[in-house]
Amino acid sequence: MTGQATTAGDGPARQLWPLARRAGQAALVPALAIFTALILGAILIWLTTGSLATALAAYGGLWEGALGSPRALAGTLVRSTPYIFTGLAVALAFKCGLFNIGAEGQLALGAVCAAWVGYRFQMPGLLHVPLTILAGIAGGFLWGMVPGILKARTGAHEVITTIMMNYLALQIVQILLSGPLKDPRSVASQTPALAPTSWLPMLIPSLQLHSGVLLAVLVAIAVWWFLGRTIWGFELRTVGVNPAAARYAGMSVARNVVGAMALSGALAGLAGVVEVAGVALDVTTVTPTGNRYFGLGFSSGYGFDSIAVALLGRGNPFGVIGAALLFGGLRAGATRMQFNTQVPGEIISVIQALILLLIAADVIVRRLYRLRAATADEAQPALTSGWGEKVA
């Protein structure tokens, strides 16, 4: 901004400063979007309940439920974990110029595969846990690969195909759960309970905090490393930014499109794994030994929200972690909020939707806070790509 800043000496501070400033700039619009959405949410509660005090109490409850106690914090982390995976899934596809709307279906397939390996086999935990995880990865990988192949071969747009694959996945899961994979001893559409050897190890058993969150952070680092430091990541990003130049440079656009969709699906599949093998779903059991199984309607939209998570995280793996924590926290706090103030928990969805809207239409935020227009450096990754172009 000032002449001094650009002509300052050549110390190490000079090296760090631009980095920090870039990170700050990247986070600025999302932070303001969250802030604005929260204010709008408060106004909405105020208007519908007719009381400003209720609005404040609702946010108090939200805070308490998300961060107010160790148990609340653990709940936030557990709910953030699938968000991290699905957010990473969408972000990775973005980097290749692809818009993966299919995280929900990929997650479901990952969960089914993980559950099957979890209940079907008996083996020591040292083997069972990795195999369960791998099964989930494989399910998501294959399911994500299909739209990739369709795009590469026929030019079918991944937005359409992934949406259709979501319906397909949900139908398949329904059929499996009411037939081949159904627990015969249960009336509900659900798999038999997973063998405890396949459960993700607990970090803090008393708080039901499982190790999935660690796995998620490790995977986020791996994704960052993969994209930024490996030749495959380089190819994938190049195809995303400029497919013509990628082709010119000898990269296969088709192979990268298929690979990116498959990897994206694998990440979404991991979200299914942690939900199935990490979270005790047996609501009657409050102990951490509660049963784990896969039943209908268990994902409750982690896949769909992932687009917002990835957008809010600006497609950056670490940004995704931050966004996932926010979304997980909102989810975790919603129950307490509703309990304390009778404000329906659905208000959380409204706030999430507002955040998404404000991020996608960042002009609103920039106008509101008198920010400069986006420069090339900070511009968003392209969220859409052309229709029906064949990339093979």
Partner: protein, 553 residues
Amino acid sequence: MADHEALDSADTRHFALEAREVTKRFSGVLANDRVSFAVAPGEVHALLGENGAGKSTLMNILYGLYTPDEGEILVGGEPARFGNPSDAIARGIGMVHQHFMLIPPLTVTENIMLGNESRRGRLLDRATAAARITELSRRYGLDVDPQATVADLSVGAQQRVEILKAFYRDARVLILDEPTAVLTPQEADDLFAIMRGLRAEGKSLIFITHKLREVLAIADRITVLRGGRVVGQARAADVTEHDLARLMVGRSVALYERDGTAGGAGPSEAGPVEEGAVAVALGLSEVAPEHAVAPPAATAAAPLLRVEGLTVRAIGGTDRPALDAVSFTIAPGEIFGIAGVEGNGQTELAAALTGLRRADGDYAWLGDREITGRAPRELIAAGVAHIPEDRQKDGLVLPYSIGDNLVLSTYRQSPFARGILLRIGPIRDFARRLIDAFDIRAGRGGADLPAGNLSGGNQQKVIIARELSRPIRFLVAAQPTRGLDVGSIEFIHAQLVAQRAEGRAILLISAELDELLALADRIGVLYRGRLVATLPRAEATWERLGLLMAGGE
């Protein structure tokens, strides 16, 4: 030489557009340093300067794309503040960018209306708009079909659409950033005719080019920028090409005519330009440039590249193939030039030989390897290099750093990768070396600067540096010096000659006949997809090539 002719002496109220003491910095680069510049009604004002001198930056400021850090802008003598281009457009300023800003799938009318829609109720009024466009195009001699889809138009026609777009918005000042870089000589002459017409109507024109001949032919006044500063202003009538060249480079330069360059020297000695001796060849010298390169080194040798009956189907319905049974050979150490009006198959030829477009069958051999139908990666590994004609679309990943762009096709090889890991250090070192060797003006950002932040000419140098810095056997160079300043052109030409001396086969596709005549050993002419003639350089003249390019005998 009227360097010191001060603008202040003129009555500022007469200027259509004026910049006063404008300064613009980009993260450490002083792109414009207290630049003062003005254009009067009915004047063609040329802006000259080396690659990276700050010309586009200044124009972007005048057009409201950038806000100046210091200084002011006056329109018709009154101070103006442009927050964005719409402000500038509202004050009667139009701009045709170095890289066009049209939307290819839309029609001419739609593109021109965009952002300035005439409406009938809530509906777009295409008919009224089309009528106005037709009227404008007749008035200014800007010949385009309002109903045509932009994607189908030639580059020259797209440029006319850009110009029409400006006047549709009632521009009084028109900024043209390197308009002739993408035009054939014929199209450039047409553009000059249009510009003279506009001048006669009292419009103000700002014209950026690297071709000194054009400047003297069309400009009334000239401003020269160097390193972001104005280093001279003059009336075109008062200066010579020599004066301008000296001003641009900033040193007393050893000027020579083309025939003096490598006379007597074998190609092996015509390597990189010597330190200090800044050689500036004029855009067009009167002297026939036969001796610029030594006679063919190895015509007797077996051809390195053999193309036989190469045919490429046209995209979209026409029966006539884009490339129709083209045959030629290139020996090692030979430069084979391709002349032709743009759109006669040059793009397809380059694409087919580099694996970017499918040809139907086996039609080209490199050494004894058949190369048609191979994937680009295989061809790159086999030693095929390609300087593409569209640098921003094919040649560069604009958001990537210069370093990443320089290893775009070699990132898998040692030392840039170890196993699957990219190695940042070696990539950066390599980039620093090439930035030095090719004089890429990257400012402080150095190897880490995004390629998109480079000036147009410096972007081109990045591509050339990349393609010439790895072991290659066969080079396809399409418009390699497009958008480069005179000094850089000479440097790149020397590089091509050096490649030739190393025994590479070079296919040089160029719209610049001068370039072909100076460098090529033989010149083939493409017309409607067919190679209608192949002439040894000794027999090739401007007139003959021009005739052949137009389909004559």
